[in-house]
Structure formats: structure tokens, C-alpha cells
């Protein structure tokens, strides 16, 4: 009965109500679209960056992240990798030997990460294999072969078919040395990697660095980052069983995590401002209508309606306004985001700029629970809580004072 009354009251002033509805709907739609876009972009950014080399998660010896010394090892990496692959959400496990050492070609020499990799699993996990633009990637029959980043190759002045000397510290403290033939040169799109990584076959690296049947890290891949994130509890259990650490993407790329957190914080300020502004507009309109109707409320009180019931009715007016606005906004914003999610947003000439951040030229918003619900819930909450002000005001009214005041 009160709800009906409230709804009828709203439409006594259709113009004001429609305007209020429009402002709520607009902000809700904006919030949904912007949040979906942000979440979509960040998800793509994360996945694209992680897929270059890190993987969606990594198994590492305890303490390796702080001090990546070659003598911190995972024993029997084959068995650990098989255990990891048995976990739902993990589809690739690539064991690696990470030697930091010197690469030399004649008089030129540079420090680099010398990664011993298993070509088959590495090609699934990391995009490096796909970005080889000269020569080819490593294969299972390779022995003294190597692929290296474009900038590293340029610095060393080595081309496909050339030879590179590798010198680094082996696990037992002796000198690990090898001569490799360059079979491919890659352009991962991340300059730091193109300047600093050489990949060679795992078995050969294990031999050169005294790492037989050992690895430094196992990089993990899956259908999506979310799938691997969901597998983390089981991976942690696996890590505990083997005495090794599990690093999720945030620990692998703390800079990216911080950058994303910072962006969210900045946008949060904007979102809060939007919500606050629209809440104030709506409350203002309602307060006006309350003042206008004080005499009417007085009459209602005089004929026996309790002040609290009237206040509740006013509050319900606000609530139904907010709900209707949210629904409308939800339809507009959700529809737009959904459509864009299917179609993608093309940035035309900005595509190259995006590529620098590891983003494809077409971006896809992600409409999920968080991006769809945050905006409407925030607005509803703000309005419902703000509604306490008119509620208290009306609840304190007495019949005589109310009728006299107008």
C-alpha cells in the first residue's frame, strides 16, 4: 500500500521524476561501461604481458624471487611439471634453467639471461616462439641451437647461422661455457626482453650449467589467466608438497600490479564523484518535494497516519526512483558494454601506441559481475543512505506544525 502510494506520488510530477531518472540512468550506464572497459583492458594487458615469457604463474625454489641464483633449484622438474599439469586450469608447464651470464661474439659481449627451455612446452606458453621473425624457433631435435632477442642480436652483431659464446656461473660454482648456433631471432614486443634473453635447449643448458635433472623455474600456462588464478590453491598445495614456492601474476609482475592498482584508485575517485553528484541531485529534488508537501503531510497526520509511515513512504519514493533509474541505466550501459564486448573497440591510428603497452589494436570490455554490479550498487547505496535525511525530517513532523508551516 505504501509502495503504491510512493509510486503514485512520484508521477504527480512526471517532469521532475523523469529528469531524476535520466540522471541516475546516465551515471549507472557510464559506470558500467567505464568499469567494463577498464577491466577488459587490464585483463588483456595482463594476459598479453604474461604470455610473452613469465607465464600466468610460476613454480620457483623458495627464495628464488629475491635472489635468483642458479644454485636455487627444483629437483626432478619433470615430476613437478606432471603434477602441475594434473591440476585443472593448468594446461602448460615449462621447466627452465635460468643462467645469467655473458654472451660474446668476437669482441662484442653483453650480459644476458640464458634460458634453457623445452621447445615444445615453451612454444605453447610463451609468445616468443611465435614472434621469431628471422630463422625459426627451437625444436626438439636441436642441441647447440639458440634463439635470441632482436636487440641482443643487433648488439652482438650476430645473424641467423652465426655463433654465440655463452659464459656463466654453473650451479656448482664452476664456469659454465658453451658455443651455440643462432637459429632464430625474435621480437617479443617488449624491448627489455628483446635486449636480454637468449633461449637454448633445456638439456644442453642443464649440461652446461651442471643442472642435470634440475630446473630453476617452471612457468605455468592455462586457457586464461583467471583459470590459472583459480587453480592457485591447488598449486599452493603442490608447492607445499614439493617444498617450492608458487608465484601468481602479481608476484611475477609487481610493477604491473601496482600500475593497475594505481589506475583503479584514480578512476575510483572519478566514480565516487559521479555517484556523489547524482546522489545529491536526487536528494535535493526529494527535499524540495518534501518541503512542498509539508502541508499535505500535516493533513495526513491529522487524519491519523503516523509520521513514521509518511516518512517511510517518502523514503520508498526515493528507493523506487533509484531502482527504476538503475534498471534503466543497467539496460543502457549493460547493453552497450555487451555489444562492445562482442564487437570490440577499434582505436584506429592509436593502435601503435597501444602496442607499446602490449595491447592489441582492438580492445574488448569485460562485462562481469564486478563491472556490472559496482555502479548500480554504489548509487543505490548512496541514495538509500542519503534518504535518511528526508526520512528523519518527515518523521519529526507534527500535524499542527506541519499544516501551519505551509
Amino acid at each position: 500500500m505504501l509502495v503504491l502510494l510512493a509510486w503514485r506520488n512520484l508521477w504527480r510530477r512526471p517532469q521532475r521524476t523523469l529528469l531524476s531518472l535520466a540522471s541516475i540512468a546516465l551515471v549507472v550506464a557510464l559506470l558500467i561501461c567505464m568499469l567494463s572497459f577498464q577491466r577488459g583492458v587490464y585483463a588483456t594487458m595482463k594476459e598479453n604481458n604474461l604470455r610473452v615469457f613469465d607465464g600466468y604463474a610460476q613454480l620457483q625454489p623458495e627464495g628464488y624471487a629475491d635472489d635468483p641464483a642458479i644454485d636455487r633449484v627444483i629437483d626432478d622438474p619433470g615430476r613437478v611439471a606432471r603434477d602441475a599439469l594434473a591440476i585443472k586450469g593448468v594446461s602448460t608447464a615449462a621447466a627452465r634453467v635460468n643462467g645469467f651470464g655473458i654472451l660474446a661474439n668476437g669482441e662484442r659481449s653483453y650480459g644476458a639471461l640464458i634460458a634453457g627451455v623445452d621447445p615444445a612446452s615453451e612454444a605453447q606458453l610463451s609468445t616468443i616462439a611465435a614472434t621469431v621473425h628471422e630463422g625459426r624457433y627451437l625444436n626438439d631435435t636441436d642441441s647447440d641451437a639458440a634463439v635470441l632477442g632482436e636487440l641482443l642480436a643487433r648488439n652482438l652483431q650476430v645473424t641467423v647461422g652465426g655463433r654465440v659464446s655463452v659464459l656463466g656461473a654453473a650451479r656448482d660454482g664452476s664456469v659454465g661455457a658453451d658455443v651455440l648456433k643462432v637459429v632464430g631471432i625474435f621480437r617479443s614486443g617488449i624491448p627489455q626482453l628483446d635486449r636480454s634473453i637468449l633461449e637454448m635447449p633445456l638439456a644442453r643448458a642443464q649440461q652446461a650449467f651442471d643442472m642435470s635433472d634440475r630446473a630453476n623455474t617452471i612457468a605455468l600456462g592455462g586457457p586464461t589467466l583467471a583459470a590459472v588464478d583459480a587453480a592457485l590453491p591447488r598449486l599452493d598445495a603442490l608447492g607445499a608438497r614439493h617444498g617450492i614456492a608458487v608465484l601468481d601474476w602479481k608476484e611475477l609482475e609487481p610493477a604491473m600490479r601496482d600500475a593497475i592498482a594505481l589506475k583503479y584508485t584514480m578512476s575510483l575517485l572519478l566514480y565516487l564523484t559521479l555517484v556523489a553528484v547524482v546522489a545529491f541531485i536526487i536528494l535535493n529534488a526529494l527535499l524540495m518535494s518534501v518541503l512542498e508537501r509539508t502541508h499535505e503531510f500535516g493533513v495526513l497526520l491529522a487524519i491519523g497516519m503516523r509520521a513514521r509511515a509518511i516518512a517511510l513512504m517518502v523514503w520508498l519514493e526515493l528507493l523506487s526512483l533509484a531502482l527504476a533509474g538503475c534498471l534503466a541505466g543497467y539496460a543502457i550501459g549493460g547493453g552497450t558494454a555487451w555489444w562492445l564486448e562482442k564487437r570490440g573497440i577499434s582505436f584506429g591510428s592509436l593502435g601503435e601506441l597501444l602496442a607499446q603497452y602490449g595491447l592489441p589494436p582492438r580492445l574488448y570490455p569485460t562485462l562481469d559481475l564486478v563491472s556490472a554490479a559496482t555502479g548500480p550498487v554504489a548509487i543505490l547505496l548512496a541514495i538509500v543512505l542519503g534518504g535518511i535525511v528526508p526520512y528523519l525530517r518527515v518523521a519529526r513532523l507534527t500535524a499542527v506544525a506541519a499544516m501551519r508551516s505551509a
Binding site: 655473458i102 659481449s109 650480459g111 656448482d172 660454482g173 664452476s174 664456469v175
Partner: protein, 265 residues
């Protein structure tokens, strides 16, 4: 705040110069009377000169200790002045033939398996040398302490019949150095007994201590020294000088790239 504290300490140390030198003179009897209140710069310089001499040729054993393993290496070392040094490993067989040449601040390494001389890239200077707790920087910038730091005498003590000075060295403004502070202890016979390296936050990072001082080539010499990172207790590198000759005339070809690859000596 720190500045004030430092100057405060300085003043405290300087306040009774007369009393200080008097005490010093009494304590170390006639021998130290000539030293008076030593100038830390000169003290350091003399210690470095005594350590490396004009030239040297020595046999050195190096023990690298890790929680999981320990390695023993033997090498022959030639040095000339502060710029030139050649280290050639002779044992164990796995490492024999590896060699390191330093000329000025440049370092080249020779590896017998590659049969190739490789110039060490600048980015690798901070890496471990032959798996030890020494870095290539320790070789190439061994005497940057003299050039880039300001020194002050912070303590004088007596031990085993010797006077022991502690010198704290802080980098000069804008100095291109790694350490935030270095504290050196020098005995009155110009032997280093301890060297502690601090990071930029002035926390000790690693400590080199002299375990045995003995006569070598007509001088007192730190025969056994151990370098240990402060936060890794199970990890150290010990350097033991087995034989040594100083101030000899070394052939010019010794410190060349061709000699590094095709040894003549």
C-alpha cells in the same frame, strides 16, 4: 639529525688531541711514537701499497663455501701497480685454464673450453667472480676507496701488541661508487685486518676479515682472508696466499690479451 650526530662524534673524537696522542704514545711505547696521530688518507695508502707492492707474483688458494657444497681452487696471480693483474687458475682440473686479466678498469676472461677471450660487459661487473663472494668489481675497482672516498679515523685500539686503527670511509659527493660506507681496520704494520662494506642505507652488507698475518716477501702480510656476506651465514670465500714475491720485474707481455689466451709463462 644524522649530520649533527656525526659532527658531534667528530668533535668528541677531536676534543682532547693532546690527551689522545699522549695515551696512544704511552700505550704503544716507542714504536708508535713516530706515528703520532695518523692521517687516515696516508694510512690507507700505505696499507694498499704494502698489500700490492709495486708488483707481485703469488700462489693463492681460494675456498668457496656454500651450505650445500665447498670448492677449492688454486691460482697464480701476477700484479703490477694498481692497474694490471692476471689470475690464472691451475686447479682443480675442471677450472684449470680459466684466467682473468685486468688492465685499468677493464676485465677480460679466458675460458679454455671456448678457447676464447671475452671482455667482461659493464653490466656483469657486479656478478660473482668464479663463483666466489668476490665480484668483478672487487678486482676492477679494488682501489676506488683511495680515490672516491673521504676518510676519518674513528677508533684506535690495542690488540696482540699492535695498534689497530679503524678508518671509516664515506663516498665523496657524486662519487660513482657502490658502497655507502666502508670501514677498514689497519694494523700499525700496515696490514688490513678487517674491511666492512655498507650499503647506501649504511647497513653492513659483507665483511672481509684477516685470519692470519705472517711474514711474506719481507713484510707482514694478510695470509688468510675471508669474505662473508653479512646476511648469509653459511656462505663465505677464503683466500689464502701460499707463496709470494714482491717488487719483481715482470715482463711487459704478461698483461696482454694474447698472453691471456696463449700463456707464455
Amino acid at each position: 639529525m644524522t649530520r649533527r650526530a656525526t659532527t658531534g662524534r667528530l668533535r668528541a673524537a677531536r676534543a682532547p688531541p693532546l690527551l689522545g696522542s699522549l695515551l696512544l704514545a704511552c700505550a704503544s711505547a716507542g714504536e708508535a711514537a713516530t706515528t703520532g696521530s695518523p692521517d687516515p688518507d696516508a694510512l690507507l695508502r700505505r696499507a694498499f701499497e704494502a698489500y700490492r707492492a709495486r708488483s707481485s707474483h703469488s700462489s693463492v688458494a681460494m675456498t668457496v663455501h656454500r651450505p650445500q657444497w665447498e670448492r677449492h681452487l688454486e691460482m697464480k696471480v701476477w700484479t703490477r701497480g694498481e692497474d694490471d693483474a692476471l689470475v690464472r687458475f691451475v686447479a682443480p682440473p675442471k677450472d684449470a685454464g680459466n684466467a682473468t686479466l685486468k688492465v685499468g678498469e677493464n676485465i677480460w676472461v679466458f675460458n679454455p673450453k671456448l678457447n676464447e677471450v671475452i671482455k667482461l660487459p659493464v653490466s656483469m661487473m657486479s656478478q660473482s667472480w668464479m663463483g666466489s663472494d668476490f665480484s668483478y668489481n672487487d678486482l676492477s675497482k679494488s682501489e676506488e676507496l683511495l680515490e672516491w672516498y673521504e676518510h676519518r679515523l674513528t677508533a684506535t685500539e690495542q690488540a696482540d701488541g699492535h695498534t689497530l686503527w679503524t678508518i671509516e670511509s664515506s663516498p665523496k659527493a657524486g662519487a660513482p661508487v657502490v658502497w655507502g660506507k666502508v670501514a677498514v681496520k689497519i694494523r700499525d704494520d700496515e696490514v688490513f685486518t678487517e674491511e666492512v662494506f655498507f650499503d647506501q642505507d649504511l647497513k653492513p652488507v659483507r665483511r672481509m676479515q684477516t685470519q692470519k698475518i705472517g711474514p711474506l716477501g719481507g713484510r707482514a702480510y694478510p695470509l688468510i682472508m675471508t669474505m662473508q656476506p653479512v646476511d648469509s651465514p653459511g656462505q663465505w670465500t677464503r683466500i689464502e696466499t701460499l707463496q709470494g714475491e714482491f717488487d719483481l720485474t715482470l715482463p711487459e707481455y704478461l698483461f696482454t690479451l694474447s698472453n691471456l689466451q696463449y700463456p707464455r709463462q
